[in-house]
Symmetry: C2
Amino acid sequence: MNRKPTLAVVGATGAVGEVLLQMLSQHADVWGEIRLIASPRTAGHKLSVRGEDVEVLPLSEEALEGAQVALFAVPDAVAAQWAPIAAAKGVVVVDSSGVFRMDADVPLVVPEVNPHAVRLRPRGIVASPQCTTLAMIVAVGALHAEFGLRELVVSTYQAASGEGRAGVETLRRQTELVAGTKLGTNPGDVRRAVGDDTGPFPGPVVLNVVPWAGEAGDDGWSSDELRLRGEARKILDLPDVRVSATCVRVPVVTGHSLSVHAAFENEVTVARAHEILATAPGVVLFDNPAAGDFPTPADVVGTDPAWVGRVRRSLDDPCALDLFLCADNLRKGAALNAAQIAEAVAAELTAP
Amino acid sequence: MNRKPTLAVVGATGAVGEVLLQMLSQHADVWGEIRLIASPRTAGHKLSVRGEDVEVLPLSEEALEGAQVALFAVPDAVAAQWAPIAAAKGVVVVDSSGVFRMDADVPLVVPEVNPHAVRLRPRGIVASPQCTTLAMIVAVGALHAEFGLRELVVSTYQAASGEGRAGVETLRRQTELVAGTKLGTNPGDVRRAVGDDTGPFPGPVVLNVVPWAGEAGDDGWSSDELRLRGEARKILDLPDVRVSATCVRVPVVTGHSLSVHAAFENEVTVARAHEILATAPGVVLFDNPAAGDFPTPADVVGTDPAWVGRVRRSLDDPCALDLFLCADNLRKGAALNAAQIAEAVAAELTAP
C-alpha cells in the first residue's frame, strides 16, 4: 500500500484527544483521512483537525471500517471492548489505556527507547505507557544504554490532568474556594472548605499533596506504582531490574514531575550523564541551579520533550544518580507518544 | 537548683516563635519566668503566653541575663552571632538554625531517638534538626532500631511555611492570582501571571512544584538535601549510612511530606513495621489506603506527631520499605522538637 493510511482517533473529544488533534494538525502530514470517533454522548460535535472541521462519529464497528490505524484515547473499559474489535477488522490499534500494556502479545513502545518493538504485534495492538513512565523513561533509557540500570527509586509529583478533565476542574474549583483565605494551618480546614466532593481524587488536591494515584493493588501498592515498575521493566527489556515507586498527586494542572534515584552497574559521572542527556532525542537537559535552571511543570507544560535537571551523583555510591524530570502528561505522557507510535506504523504500512 | 528555670524565647515574633508560645502555654508548666525576645524591629509588641501578655524585649546581652535556657528560633546569621554570647553567659542554648547542627561539639537531638545526646554539650549549645529531617527521623529511627538502616532515598514535598511568613504570604498571593483562571496549560503562563516576585522561592510555587530548597551546595546538591543527609547520619549515629535526598517545594501552606525508600540490613515485613510504627512515641501510623487512610499535609497540619502511611515492602528487595510521611514543619518540624529539648534540659537542671 502506498496511499496515505486512514487514521481513526477514538476518544477524540477527551483531554488527550484534544491534544492529539493539535499534534495531528502540526506534525508532517502522514495521514490520508483522519476520522474522529467518540462516545455517543459527544458524537455529532465538530472538531478542527488540520484546519478542517470534522464531525465526530459515534463509536461503532461501522465507524472503524476501512481505517488502517486507530489511536485509542479512551477509558480502560472502552479500550478493553473495542480495541480487539478494531484489530479483528485489520486496524492496527495504538492504545493509551492500561488494559494491554502488560500483555505479552502486545508491545509497549516508546519510539526513542524500543522502536523495534512496534513491528511485532501478534494481537494487532500496540500499547503506549502511562504518563508517569513516559515522563522518565526516555532519559532513563538513554542513561541505561551507557551505564546499565540496576535499580530505580521513583517519587512522583503528578498533575491533576492525569485524571482528565474532571481532575482539572476539581483543582480549579478547589483553588477558587481557598483563594483569599487563611486556610492550610489547622487540621482538616482545607478538607472542610472543599467539602466532600474531591472529584476523582481521594482527598483535597488544593494546598495539599495526596499520596495515592490509581486503584488499590496488592500489598498496599497503587496501580500507578505497580504500572510504573512493570512498564519500565518491559520497555527497557530488564525483567528483573529493581523498581520502587511512590505516586503522589500535587496541585498542578498539567505536567508530571518525578524524582528519580537510579543506580547503575557502572560508575557514573555528572559530566558524562549531562553529555548523554543533552544529546538524547526527546530529552531537554536543563540543569544549572545557580542560574535557576531546573525543570518545573509550570514551565514545561505545553512542550513535547521530557525535561531533566538536578543531575547529581550520589555522595555515597559512585554508581548512582539523582535526577528531577518534568514532562507534559498530555503530550509526551500520552498524545505525543501515541502519535509517534502511529506514525511509525504508518511508515511501515506505506513502505514500498 | 530546684527553682523552675527561666526561659528566654529568642525570635518570639516569627512563624516558629508563634507556635512555640502556643506550646509553652499548653505544655506542663516547667518554666519559671518566660522572657520573650526578638529583633528591635518587632520588640515592644505584647504577646500572649500562658494566658498573660508579655512585652517583647529587643535582643541584647541584658535581655539574656539570668536565663537558664534560651530557645533560639531566628535566622542563621542571628543565631551565629548570639548563641555563643548567650552560652558564654551560662545560658543553655537550644538552637533551631542551621549554624551549629553539624558542629562536632554540638549535639543534634531528637528526644524520641537520641535523648542521651542532650547531656553532652561542650559549647553550651544543643541543636534541633531541620524540618525535613524531623518529619521522618522519628519513624526511621524506630525502624532502624529493629532492622538496621543501610540506605535512605528521600524525596520531599515541602510546604511554603518552611520559608517562614514570607513563604506563606507568597503562596497565598499567588493563589489569588491564579484562582478563577485557566492557567497551567501553556508554557510559562503561571510564571507570567505571578510576575517576577516569587518571594523566597526560585520560581512560582502555586500550580507548580519547585525542585530546590535552600542554598547551592557542592556538586549540584542543595543545602536542604545535604543537611538531611548529614543530620540523619548524626542523629542515628550512622556516619556511613547512604542517604540521597531530593528536596522539592510544593503549594502547601504548612506540613512537610516525604517519600522515603529505606533499605535495611535485615529482612522486613509490613506487619512488623506496622507494629513498630504503631507503638513508637511521636509517630502516628495511618495506613489503610482502601479506607482512604494515608497522611496528607492538609490533614496533619496543626498536630504534633509525625504521621506515616503507605508502608510497603519492596517487591524486589525483602530488606527495603517504602513509606510516606507527613509532619507539621512548624511543630515537630521546629517548635515542638526545640521545646522538647528545652524541657529535657530543664529536667536536668532542676534534678535534685
